[in-house]
């Protein structure tokens, strides 16, 4: 929703971002009151939504002004901006039969732009026309919100407070909707916010083990993304990791920066329909050798060198990632998945094996059961991860017994506290593990995070 608000708010005639509202997700309805003294353009509205990844199927406009007959045309002149609106449609003659020229009227109609650039003209196909003899004493946007019209029988909304969906011409039914979300562990093909982005700090609490060795990791992963174009998203991911270990005799801990990863995501497919979409994206990442590489010594922990190397915040050196993702949303259900491949290079002779991850994501809008306005939604999420990794290397030598194949289930919750703020949590539990004698095994992986859109 924030993506739509931000896109519309870029228009010259748009009000403040918070005054642009989604009123019915099922029907795809959003409303706003434009600035009174600005020219409005259906084509510009359509274009800005297209850039944000949405399609403007149609728009209804409610406008008050003077009816003017110019040649054979009927026009409505907006006296605030001086903009002319041409009236057209089969019903026009009937609707305007009893209205004299220069009459003050108010129209609700289907809005279009015909022509391009300087030749562009705004057209309205009226659905209802009423005479407005009385001057409503109001002040532009804020006034309209609180204005009470005397003749509410012809105009189907009375309080112009567009927050109430049941007062809108189309959104009569009780509706449901949801909002800003993305999978937690699965890559989303979405681009978050066009010419905006997200800051996503996440805390991971991970327990791993191998024989008597218990390893606890606390990772703070900060991700910042930005979407400069309609199809491309850029992202930087910076991890900080604290690792503590206990082998029954010795224990210790370390803290350091992990490998910073730079991502570029290209969304190559997107299809939208009312209350649903499908999209797919290709993501390329470069993991840079920035992380702390000092491993505990053999005196500090009784474990083979390859296992001790796994106690650092890094899995190797410079590593390209390639990821393809897909998602489909419809109604309260969202399904998605991604396949990611990681090619690792050695850093000081160490690296884990190359890796393939297959994630699936299933989401359901659990709460509220029935609601009118976006906000305070709770998403129930179930993700799966199949990870398979080949043998790693140490000192330039392949390490047999360091490969691993694991399958995890990750139930999670996401709470949209605000159109710009999401809280999320997910616990990853192993269902199947087939790991070599030198590979740490994950016992659990708890994720707690927030997301702030800008």
């Amino acid at each position: 929703m924030y993506n739509i608000q931000k896109a519309v708010s870029r228009l010259d005639y748009a009000p403040k971002l918070k005054e642009i509202e989604i009123t019915d997700i099922k029907k795809g309805l959003g409303v706003f009151v434009p600035k009174a003294d600005k020219f409005v353009s259906f084509a510009d509205l359509k274009e800005t939504l297209k850039k944000a990844g949405y399609a403007l199927d149609s728009a209804d406009i409610t406008i008050a002004g003077k009816l003017v007959r110019e040649d054979k045309n009927l026009l409505l002149v907006n006296e605030s901006s001086g903009q002319k609106f041409f009236l057209e449609g089969k019903m026009l003659e009937k609707l305007t039969a009893a209205i004299e020229s220069d009459s003050a009227i108010e129209i609700v109609g289907i809005w279009k732009t015909k022509g391009e650039k300087e030749a562009a003209q705004e057209y309205i196909e009226p659905q209802t026309i009423k005479k407005s003899d009385k001057v409503t004493i109001t002040k532009s946007v804020s006034l309209v919100k609180n204005a009470v019209d005397d003749e509410i029988t012809t105009i189907r909304f009375t309080n112009a407070n567009f927050a109430k969906a049941n007062s809108l011409p189309v959104a009569d039914e009780v509706s449901e909707k949801n909002k800003t979300l993305a999978p937690i562990r699965t890559t989303s093909p979405g681009l978050t916010v066009f010419q905006g982005g997200a800051i996503t700090p996440r805390l991971y609490f991970i327990k791993q083990s191998l024989g008597n060795l218990d390893v606890y990791r606390q990772v703070l992963d900060i991700s910042v993304s930005y979407t400069p174009t309609t199809k491309l998203q850029l992202e930087a991911e910076i991890p900080f990791s604290r690792t503590s270990f206990d082998d029954g005799v010795n224990s210790g801990s370390g803290f350091g920066l992990g490998n910073v990863t730079l991502w570029g995501k290209y969304r190559f497919f997107r299809k939208v329909k009312t209350y649903g979409d499908r999209q797919a994206a290709l993501r390329f990442g470069l993991e840079l050798p920035t992380g702390k590489k000092t491993a505990p010594t053999a005196q500090a922990v009784n474990a083979p060198a390859f296992v001790r190397e796994q106690l650092t915040p890094i899995n190797g050196g410079f590593s390209p990632h390639l990821d393809i993702s897909f998602s489909q949303a419809g109604g309260r259900f969202i399904f998605g998945g991604n396949i990611e491949g990681i090619l690792r290079t050695e850093r000081d002779g160490f690296r884990l094996g190359n890796e393939i991850r297959v994630n699936t994501d299933f989401e359901y809008v659990l709460l509220p059961i029935d609601y009118q306005k976006p906000g305070k939604e709770l998403f129930l999420i179930l993700e799966t991860t199949l990870m398979t990794r080949s043998n790693g290397r140490l000192g330039g030598i392949k390490m047999p017994g360091s490969s691993s194949t694991e399958f995890f289930l990750s139930p999670g919750l996401q709470y949209a506290a605000d159109p710009r703020f999401v809280i999320e949590g997910s616990i990853q539990i192993p269902v199947f593990r087939n790991s070599g004698a030198l590979a740490l095994r994950t016992n659990y992986n708890l994720l707690l995070g927030v997301k702030y859109l800008f």
Binding site: L49, E79, T136, I334
Partner: protein, 53 residues
């Protein structure tokens, strides 16, 4: 003398009040006329999953 001064002061106050009232009315009227002619609302029918990214 004192009474004359008071009358002058009262007269000045009354004039000020009249002018202020006239200005206020003019502003209100102008605002009313201005707000009468305007696009009051735009409703978009948007294709897509409106909560999605």
């Amino acid at each position: 003398m004192e009474i004359d001064r008071l009358e002058i002061i009262n007269g000045t106050m009354t004039k000020r009040k009249v002018i202020l009232t006239a200005i206020t009315l003019a502003i209100l009227l102008a605002a009313g006329v201005n707000s009468f002619a305007q696009v009051r609302r735009i409703q978009m029918h948007i294709g897509g999953y409106l909560c999605g990214n």
